[in-house]
């Protein structure tokens, strides 16, 4: 791998930056792989990277039906935080946050992780009480989080309007200072580049059309580029998990929804924390406001958003920050997110031997990429769930051991709006 450093930048500057090598190869699929990962987004690429690096399994293919990182990895609002509620969740997401803290060095690729702090804001006493509960749970788990008074909120966000004419009041909030944002494409590209250097084949424009099974075990995948033999398949396809599950002959407790995001024109620095409330908004390094809210209200594979949610997000934004009323919005898009009944992911064994699940990431998949990849690789390599993800098994929808993160994932208050 061509290492990035000040020296290499200086060297390439001398030749006008015309000779940077390609980040990854474009191989044709081989007829057999030890492990096939379906889905070339953050989770799939990270899994391939950790399979090669941590477990020495380098004969791995990542199959991507479109382009690398073109699904939810490139469509989210890039927020990273670990301020969840249940111990199994906080342990997992905090590992992810810690891995993010070292990821630029690990991958030798700048993911532009900016730990500017994630602020949650309460608009009712019930919300404030829930936040207190979460902050207590977080502190108990050894994760830094602290309650904020209205004055502290206004200090962090001078443009915030605490009481709006719509009747909404602000009661307080909390902050996780280690939270922040990263460049989401860079996370996919960094993992892809590092995985490729370890011998992983990343195959784009390769759609999985079916699976070959023998006695309840997977023996191969059928793709648009031919058949590939393998005994271990990892599915990391987010909103399209149900489709592949149908091809494998089982069902998942997943509903695919459209989740929208949008960016404004760039302006001078006005907001230097990530605000997470009825909407979530942060300012990118280029100065654009990056805005997202809840999912659209019905299931969809359209990868495009709907006007009612745009209007809702805008009115929420202006209710909080009237100063933004004359900003123009430049782009709006949507991803297909795989929501689950308890807003927690589904990882581990599937009903088909040799097929492993990494799905159900709903609205919170990006922050989970490093830990998701690390634990999923471990699960596939050893044929048993990694201890950190044991509770996220598909089996919990039979046993009833759900892990309710509706509040922490933002699904609860955002859904209540519409």
């Amino acid at each position: 791998m061509h290492r990035h450093s000040i020296l290499s930048i200086a060297k390439h500057a001398l030749t006008g930056h015309r000779h940077w090598p390609q980040f990854w190869r474009t191989p044709a699929p081989q007829s057999h792989y030890d492990v096939v990962i379906v889905g070339g987004g953050g989770h799939g690429l990270a899994t391939a990277y950790y399979l090669a690096k941590e477990h020495g399994i380098c004969n791995v293919a990542v199959l991507e039906k479109g382009w690398l990182g073109g699904g939810n990895t490139g469509r989210n609002t890039a927020i990273i935080r670990s301020n969840y509620l249940n111990p199994v969740s906080t342990r997992f997401y905090d590992l992810s946050l810690k891995l993010y803290e070292g990821l630029s060095q690990e991958l030798n690729y700048n993911i532009m992780f900016s730990q500017r702090g994630v602020v949650n804001i309460a608009h009712s006493r019930a919300q404030l009480r829930m936040m207190n509960y979460r902050v207590n749970a977080l502190q108990h788990a050894g994760i830094e989080a602290e309650m904020l008074s209205i004055e502290e909120l206004k200090f962090l966000m001078p443009l915030l309007r605490e009481n709006s004419p719509s009747g909404r009041q602000t009661f307080g909030g909390f902050i996780q200072r280690r939270g922040g944002t990263a460049r989401h494409d860079a996370v996919a590209w960094g993992y892809a580049r590092a995985a490729d250097a370890l011998g992983v084949d990343i195959i784009q424009n390769c759609e999985v059309t079916g699976f070959n099974q023998s006695n309840g075990e997977v023996v191969g995948v059928q793709t648009s580029q031919g058949e590939i033999k393998t005994s271990r398949v990892g599915l990391a396809v987010a909103g399209h998990s149900s489709e592949l599950a149908t091809k494998l002959g089982f069902r998942l407790p997943i509903t695919s929804m459209a989740l929208q995001a949008m960016v404004s024109e760039p302006v001078k620095p006005v907001l230097d924390v990530v605000l997470d409330g009825t909407i979530y908004v942060s300012q990118s390094d280029r100065g654009e406001l990056v805005l997202g809210g809840g999912t659209d209200v019905y299931n969809s594979y359209a990868q495009r958003g709907n006007l009612p949610r745009v209007e809702n997000n805008m009115s929420e934004l202006l209710d909080l920050f009237p100063a933004f009323s004359r900003l123009k919005f430049m782009r709006q898009w949507a991803g297909t997110v795989d929501t689950t009944p308890d807003s927690s992911p589904i990882m581990g064994h599937s009903p088909v031997e040799g097929v492993y699940l990494n799905c159900g990431w709903g609205t919170y998949g990006f922050k989970a990429i490093p830990a998701g990849g690390l634990t999923f690789a471990d699960t596939i390599a050893n044929g048993r769930p990694h201890p950190l993800i044991d509770a996220f098994s598909l089996q919990r929808f039979t046993s009833g051991a759900l892990i309710d993160e509706g509040d922490s994932s933002g699904m609860d208050d955002k859904e209540a709006l519409l």
């Binding site: 399209h240 149900s242 489709e243 149908t246 069902r251 998942l252 407790p253 997943i254 509903t255 695919s256 209200v297 019905y298 299931n299 969809s300 594979y301 359209a302 709907n306 006007l307 009612p308 009944p341 929808f397 039979t398 046993s399 009833g400 519409l418």
Partner: protein, 96 residues
Amino acid sequence: MIQIDCPLCGLRDESEFTWGGEAHICRPENPDTVGDEEWGSYLFMRQNPRGNHRERWCHSYGCNQWFNLIRDTVSHKITSIYPIDQLAPESGDDNE
């Protein structure tokens, strides 16, 4: 934005309606005797097709009546609207 032809009120914008998820999910006849697997399947497992989806809607800000419809989850085109107590009409492609 989709528009839905409410059986009672006529064509209205989606923002007047509430989506009720997959239609025709049958509660097991005798909950006391079904196993965890079947009960979990009833509660949580969903078709979630890419294509035609049979689903329930309620005209919350109109007549407040529930009804069923078949909608394509990619194009959002609605091909059939039918009463809540009727079996699904043949939809051709329902990914089952």
